[in-house]
Amino acid sequence: MLLRSQYPDASPICGGTDLMVDVNFGRARPPTLLDLTSVEDIDSWELIDDGRTVRIGAGMSYTRIIDEVSGPCPALAQAARTIGSPQIRNRGTVAGNLATASPAGDSHPALLACWAQVEVESVRGPRLIDIDDFFVGPKRSALEPDELIRAVRVPAATGPQQFAKVGPRNAMVIATVSFALNLDAAAGRVGTGIGSAGPTPLRARAAEQMLEDVLADRQTSATQEAGGWQTSATQKAGGWRRGTADRQWGEAPSVGRPRRQDPPAVGDRVAREFGALVAEAASPIDDVRGSAQYRRHALSVLARRCLNWALADLEADA
């Protein structure tokens, strides 16, 4: 932190998967680099808040996120799985993704859906930024010039989470659109995150609210029948150890086939309405990766699929 304050012009570098591209193409010429790979204790993770939150160090690579925290952070791990190639996942970090703050950053929808917090630090001291306040514009974040990201705090999953992304090929793709869904069974809350369809990553609040209401109604009417929202103690007790994520793991979208057969639509009308509300929450533009119209459409499809997958998981776990 002292170094950061002494060299305000230095570019922090960790995985280098964003910065070095700009350097190689002459778009960035920082006078100095601040190498974060030599900082100790930032390349690991720990459980905090009595195991309810995963604290992921700023230097932890996507590969290690996939290998080590896919249980408590399934959506983030699924998103990490779609990033770049093995070489890129070995170097790239969530903190770097956040610092770049691209609307297309693959980890952002999952972090939004999970109500993550960004732990930042400077010589002035540490502070926590809610993910909802972090993205302030295209490639602009709430990070002050003298601040560095130390860790990302992601609440551990208490129910199913899903992430889906559309792009022209399976590997090495910047998302045309992406979507993450988090069914927080313990709190009866729904979290969403939209990528690549607005000036910043977005949350679909109306869709979250609608789904929360529907799931709450289901729970009341389902009485002791399985399949409800927050069905039983096992739902909570099983927690993330159930391995929901592991089950989908070998079938991640980046290997070029549907993750699974579409499950029997659980309330097809609800899923469609959810998809429509998610698409409405977006404010996409036309660009080289896709038209605004296509993005809205793809987003409604991704949201519907994620919901159906998540509901199938919820029923399977019940």
């Binding site: 570098i13 190689n24 680099l33 190639s85 070029g256």
Partner: protein
């Protein structure tokens, strides 16, 4: 800036390294190892793949100063005896080389793949090599080479 690094088991101490110099340029121009290729310079193509402390990376995206005190292995360092590594032999035998430009990166990535998955299925191979592009589109022979290398290593006692 001075960089001290072990490359293929040999310690190097190089002065006057530019702060923004990539590991790729460092290996090619300072250490003189030209096997690692420069193509896209943005991590898309994998032709500059090397190991840093045993982890497969695109050397174009690593700043040379970041490997201070670390160990780098390039395609030249895969075979311990200066000969041909079994993965390289498999590429030769399967005819998995066309123009050859992607080959060094492809060999290093295949080496890493087989180290982690001695008997990989087709999907695993495709996923693990997804960061390596072959502009000749000679992918089928490359997949054959990986299978051949896996088969041979399994056959060995």
């Amino acid at each position: 800036m001075k960089v001290n690094v072990t490359v293929n088991g040999v310690a190097h101490s190089v002065d006057h390294v530019w702060a923004l110099e990539s590991l790729l340029d460092f290996l090619r121009e300072r250490v003189g190892l030209r096997g690692t290729k420069n193509a896209c310079e943005q991590g898309e193509c994998g032709s500059c793949s090397v190991y840093v402390d045993g982890v497969l990376v695109c050397s174009c995206l690593v700043a040379a100063v970041q490997v201070e005190g670390r160990s780098v292995v390039t395609v030249e360092g895969l075979a311990s005896d200066g000969g041909v590594h079994p993965v390289q032999q498999a590429f030769l035998d399967a005819g998995a080389v066309q123009c050859g430009f992607c080959t060094p990166g492809m060999v290093v990535a295949a080496h890493c793949l087989l180290a982690g998955h001695p008997d990989p299925d087709d999907l695993t191979v495709r996923e693990e090599l997804s960061g390596n592009l072959c502009r000749c589109t000679g992918y089928q022979k490359i997949l054959d080479a990986v299978s051949l290398a896996a088969e041979r290593s399994g056959a060995a006692p």
